[in-house]
Amino acid sequence: MEDNRIVDLYWSRSENAIAETMTKYGKYCYTIAYNILANNEDANEIVNDTYMGAWNSMPPHRPSVLSTFLGKITRCLSIDKWRARNTDKRRGGEIVLVIDELYDCIPDGNSVELEVETAELAKMINNFIKTIPLTEKRVFICRYWYLDSIPSICRQFGFTNSKVKSMLYRTRRKLLTYLKKEGAYLDSL
């Protein structure tokens, strides 16, 4: 079924909206949730919560791209659930590695962090990804938006493990430089 028809079903409060979403995007949402949570039961729960979130959001929302609308709900719920876990249960899943990698984009002791609103930071990141080569951008998004594992990215792009790792490393260093330049951090005296 076409996405706009599915959105219409949500707007007309038809429960078929959930069934159609499940058929078309169930696997997509599950993959995102599982990448983060690494637990089948939790991932399924998040996918169900995603349907509920979509049901509660439409109306008033009428997303132009249903897949990413759902994906963003799934991603957000999954990260929240992961955060809510006890520290000792925050094992597995790509998120542990991803968080660790993203520390590369945080300056070491020579800079002062500024409080930047998430929305402002998001704007900077959207601008940043326009400045990097296309393949690098795609690999970056697969890793840090979809939280795909490195081996999965290797398979998808036909790159070697080292290639993906070095590409991501370079991108993170570029992001750090970009964020500094854009004023997300100040160099201390």
Binding site: K24, Y25, K27, Y28, S64, V65, S67, T68, F69, G71, K72, R75, C76, I79, R83, I95, V98, I99, D100, L102, Y103, C105, I106, E113, L114, E115, V116, T118, A119, L121, A122, M124, I125, N126, I129, L134, T135, K137, R138, I141, C142, Y144, W145, Y146, P151, C154, R155, Q156, F157, G158, F159, T160, N161, S162, K163, S166, R170, A184, Y185
Partner: protein
Amino acid sequence: MTAYNLLDAIGMINDEDILDAKEAVRTVVNHMTVRHGFVVRKRGRRTTICIAAVIAIIFGSFVTAMAVNEDFRYAVYSFFHISTPDVGLPEEDEPKQSNDLEVIYETDIENIVNVEYIRINGNFDYGRGLIYLHGEAGDGSAFYTIKNGQLEKLKTNETSLAYTWKGTEYDIKFSWCEEDGAIYIYSTGKEPANDAFWYVSPVNGRTDVVTLTISFGRQNDYSEYTFFLNLNTQEVTDIFDGCGVDQLSGITSTVFSKDMSKAIITCGNGTSVYYCDMNTKTLLMVSEFTGMPVNAAWFLDDNTIFSYTVDENSKCTCWHIFPSTNECTLLFTDLPIYSRTSGNGIIFTGTRYGLYVDLDKTTYMYDFKTGSRAIVEGLAYSGEDATVIMNANGTKMLYAKFDYTADSLAISQLGVIDIEKGMFTILERKGYEIRDEAAVSWFDNDRISILATNSSGEKYLYLYSFTS
């Protein structure tokens, strides 16, 4: 600010970029199926990625219970290390530009490797031994062949037609030429109105027809279907007429036998693999032969299929299937799939041959048709910094080792495993950082190409011929 803030902010990346990241992957997977076609490069590294992905997507491995032919157990591919390195041509030594497409440098290394540099001004694509140079505003686009250091322009034909299937109209337009009894094709392969992809591929031994594969749906709904297209009449005919293939959903790959009378059709990225005999109008799941689900299958010859399944421990079971007699023979069990973590296992290439890396890095060439293997002397393969790519006719395997301290591909070693001659020849490269190297692949069945760009954006193809 913390890494968590960054993670949240990344979650707000624009929709089109999020979609594009996965769409690009899907395109790569789709193009991988065009094994005998003129592989079109849309962007710098895409073709190499596609070709490399053919190898990378089906990494496998291999160990116990192998029905290896004893005669071949101790066979060896001899090793030849060329003592003189290939040294990149410095930019200052380049001749001045005289043509849009020109051979600017040629050298022989120890009479074993011939190297040619082709400098190209403008947009181009390449593959199967030809270069397709795009003209201004689409005019004057043409195919070129390169023989003995000479570039020759070929007669280029255009075909365009509108074809409607299941309510979607496809605006098919492509360039092609005929050379040495084969058809070569260049097409952009995308229907801009509805994002429906299509591509055209040559048919082995035919100059009157090509295959036209059209796709519909996106992401999980993606499916494709292949037709014959007559180049003279532009008539489109259903290859699978009466076979029931049109009832399958989620087709992601269709691979034909050499005689085009049979096909292996993969649905849902490997969840269902079918065998179709178009002469007898038979459509069967490959699992009906093996008795268990399979992950992949391909033709070893017109009458033999190789198939395997991978278990939860990343070990595979492999079979020979002979559909004409309904026979299925177990070939290997507990064969580990190669992984970079373990550094051990089988690397499938989608052809008759595969590379097996033992725990001690001893590397073997496996022949899946005979069940034999031979040590490749001088090769201790590591997927961490190297790749292998089989040529289109399955007679030679390219080996490239990368220098990951450099920004570009930076190929520090280039080699060829010549299966017919039983020899592995390797060439050291120096000066690979002079120009950014973006792609390595087979240019044709005998020549390896490296795509490079200089700091001014000028593009080069380096062609390497190994005469082991």
